[in-house]
């Protein structure tokens, strides 16, 4: 089979552009869930620098819990799987996809369904939270730049919800 495998994504490849926000599907990337009691051991196994505070982002690595991290890398990258060590490295590249929200209205669009105080989130910062009933990983990279990582099967719902909220926002004064 010489054909290059074709990747299918459940949300449109074309960005949705609104007056205050652009919502787009990010390029595919590698993702790993990292678990360990001992962060230093995990750093040794993976060669990554791990943030220690929940919500903290160092490079492409996020601390999600006392023993849990997420790290990302360009598609095709590899990471040692830590076999035999007291760590867990799981490839979850395909479990989720990432949507980017950029523009001055991005925080308001996210606040339409996310109970966190989105406006006052520091950056860089990332945290597991929800958009209405759907679990997401919300990351703020700059004042006007957010990414939302969501499990693949929930992505069409989230895409519709975010674009609907952005469309509503055009009618509603800030």
């Amino acid at each position: 089979m010489a054909d290059t495998p074709v990747r299918s994504m459940p949300v449109p490849a074309e960005p949705a552009v609104f007056s205050g926000v652009t919502i787009a599907l990010a390029a595919p990337c590698a993702r790993w869930s990292l678990r360990a009691r001992d962060a230093a051991l995990l750093e040794k196994v993976t060669g990554l620098k791990l943030p220690r505070k929940i919500g903290e982002v160092v490079g492409e690595t996020v601390c999600l819990g006392p023993d849990e991290w997420l790290t990302r890398a360009p598609a095709g990258a590899t990471l040692p799987d830590g076999a035999g060590e007291k760590v867990a490295v799981v490839d979850i590249a395909e479990r989720a996809l990432t949507l980017t929200l950029s523009g001055p209205a991005a925080a308001r669009v996210i606040a339409a369904g996310c109970p966190r105080d989105v406006e006052r989130l520091p950056f860089p910062y990332a945290s597991r939270t929800v958009f209405e009933g759907v679990e997401v990983l919300l990351q703020r990279d700059a004042e006007d730049a957010f990414t939302i990582e969501v499990w693949r099967s929930f992505a069409p719902w989230l895409w519709t919800a975010l674009t609907q909220a952005a469309a509503d926002m055009e009618h509603l004064p800030a």
Binding site: R95, R108, A111, A112
Partner: protein, 957 residues
Amino acid sequence: MSGYRIDGLGRVDRSRRVNFTFDGQAYAGFAGDSLASALLAHGVTLFGRSFKYHRPRGLLGAGAEEPNALVTVERGGGVFTPNLRATAVEIHEGLVARSQNRWPSLKTDFGSINDRLGRFFPAGFYNKTFMWPRSFWEKLYEPAIRRMAGLGDAPTVADPDHYAATYAHCELLIIGAGPAGIDAALEAAGTKQRVILIDENAEMGGGALADPALAAWLERSLKALAEAPNVTLLKRTTAFGYYHDNFIGAVERLTDHLANPGPQSLRAPREQLWRIRAGEVVLATGAIERPLVFAGNDVPGVMLASAARTFLFRDGVAVGRNVAVMAAHDSGWKDACAMARAGMGVAAIIDCRSEVDPALVQEAESLGIDCLIHWSVVGVNGRHGVKSVQVLHHDDFLDRRLPCDALLMAGGWTPSVHLWSHSLGSLAWSDDWGAYLPDKPNEKVRCVGACAGKWSFGSGMNVGHLETNRNPAAIKAFVDFQNDVTAKDISLAVREGMKSVEHIKRYTTNGMATDQGKTSNLNALQLASAAMGKPVPEIGLTTFRPPYTPQTFGALAGHAQGPLFQPTRKSPIDSWAEAQGAVYEPVAQWRRARYFPKPGEDMHKAVARECLAVRERVGIFDASTLGKIEVIGPDAAEFLNRMYTNPWKALEPGRCRYGLLLGEDGFIRDDGVSARMAPDRFHLTTTTGGAARVLNMMEDYLQTEWPDLDVWLTSTTEQWAVIALQGPKAREVIAPLVQGIDLSPEAFPHMAVREGTICGVPTRLFRVSFTGELGFEINVPAGFGRHVWEQVFAAGQAHGITPYGTETMHVLRAEKGFIIVGQDTDGTVTPHDAGLDWAVGKKKPDFVGKRSLARPDIVADGRKQLVGLLTDNPAEVLEEGAQIVADPNQPVPMKMIGHVTSSYASATLGRSIAMALVADGRARVGQKLHIPMPGRVITATVTDTLFYDREGSRLDG
């Protein structure tokens, strides 16, 4: 009464005429008018018919408290909104409104016969009278009562509008933009705090809108707030509920007030739900004036004095040319004088108190107002409007006629403590106010202004019923206007033994209407207090519950309608199935292809074809929705050994095992085939619906029972697309596509797993079978699921590959007697009941549920066991859920010994098959049992659950 527009007063924009209709008649008002003020300006007095007695009703209030003037507003295309308060409907060009609960018209309403018959149905009448015969209630009594008693009609057309929702955070939330709320906002303007000020009206200002002396202050203040970057002003927004930790629900109305909201597709959301988390809440919700209780207090034209003042100064509408005021409170005197000074004709102030502040009397007299102190109104003359009132001197008990065209009531003030009470702040009775005031807070909240009892309306007297010289049993003096509760209903409730205010409320329905007793609760308390001879605080107060005013379902649903109602999870291959015309079924949150009909096929035919294709050639099935968990760590095998019933420690890497999961009660919770990928890495599968539950259960044990184990769990359900390829040709189909895996039966036996690539995509290839045929489950990264599926499907064409859905999967597994957790089990089935003893490790020291398997009830005889059933008539397919009896000739009710759990027409076997849970089922193998159905009884023979390929010879293809 003859209301009219008065020159030079009010905030309405007289340069902008607004045309609208009410009950088909054309009217014009001004921009800024409510439906109530615009109609009042035309001399309209009659706004509605009451709930129970169909009495003609006019306006009582001018705001959220209005109980009478409920109207329906058309929204076009058969869409309408019922039960809106005319005082809260802003008029716009082309507005179409109509009255409710009347036939054939508001003026001539047949239902008003109820008023004449009123003495035959007092409080509790319905409950007592329509008890028997019981069967009549649903078919006859209830529909008839519903037709007669009621509010507006419920819309039958789907709501075409959409609704927005948002969360908001602020350090200070102020509810109510009257003078007190605005002052609180001004204090915080320019600070670093985020401030939100919300108000339910179209214009902010509250009571200040009806006080010309405050007009300049109001304009200045609102301008300052609008310019403050830290203040958000939300008008037309009702805070309807106050929830834990300063979480407030509010609805902002966005389009209903617009004459032309635009075409539906481009329209703004109709309403927006605000979910606000506030650091501190300031309640500036004001107070509501109380009516007085006397005969005729509901005649159109009898209204609250504060409402008349508001209509005059806010809207420029005088409610009459010659009005009288019935006061028990100083505020009535102040309002009367203010209105008289503004040019409205005030004939008299009647006050039931024996003494009134001389300064007030002097002022009233100087304005030419007749002052009748120690007098009460005992009757109102007029049916659709006030012609005159009968007044009674408390000393001589004789009544005389006083001509007037409206009667204004001033019974004192009730602070609006609704939201305070939602927040579970405590209340304390105040004799001065004759009402409950906020006492101790339960959240970070404070009350300001009238809501806190900190506003000077003057003083008054707390009265239940005004003095009268008439027979109290023969008069209707209304307490709750919306639910038609009268003073005598309250005394009847007390006479019949209701001692708690909560019981009185339910017996009389006082306070249970859409206005939640905003004008009636305190008067009812006073009346009950007098009837019981107990002070009010000993009787208590009914509970305030959200919403403060009725809200639309649309707003509460917010985004959650249409495609956003709930996520429909779709597998990576779903789009292919859709293009093939698959019929779907919901499984947990997923939709799954149930079968793939060809033209002219029904489900039965399609499933028969799909089943035979798998048995004879090869079928392809999307199993992506199965739950998957990656279990990693040095203690992974130990962990699984404790979770599952069977032994896991000896499983070699590269091999799979069926795992059975119990709860602590010993009952089956989930099952699935799992693989050991490496000594410290397992790939678990769970049922589709059980995925999240199983992960939670395992995390729970790991974190609370065995925190010493070095194991980590990661959900990989969505990491992998899973393509099940089942049938004798399965190996031939994938052989040319797979690289790096020896597919030969010797190198890759049943219940094994290998890693390699397929179609250039990395795969975890399982050799497993849920059909009894040679089978593979191809796990590939989800993004490439559809690609690999299409390649496999193309390669399978030469072998007659057939896509199949969940229905065929169910039939094929039933032919092999494989259970489906949740279908053949119901949370009360043990491994032994299900015939799965082989999957329970006898030598294991422990596993979740082991202890329960030795409980006396679990080991006793007579438990229901899973068996097969073969009907005498092979064409008969039993109904799933059908009950089973041993002797069909018993008298009804028969002893039921079990039920059918799975039942199908098996094309492979050329007959029907079924599985059933039957008491002592395995001991009954060979016996005939009976399944009674409407009009007939079906007979079947008990068998074991293995219907096909008893030797298992087909697993190798």
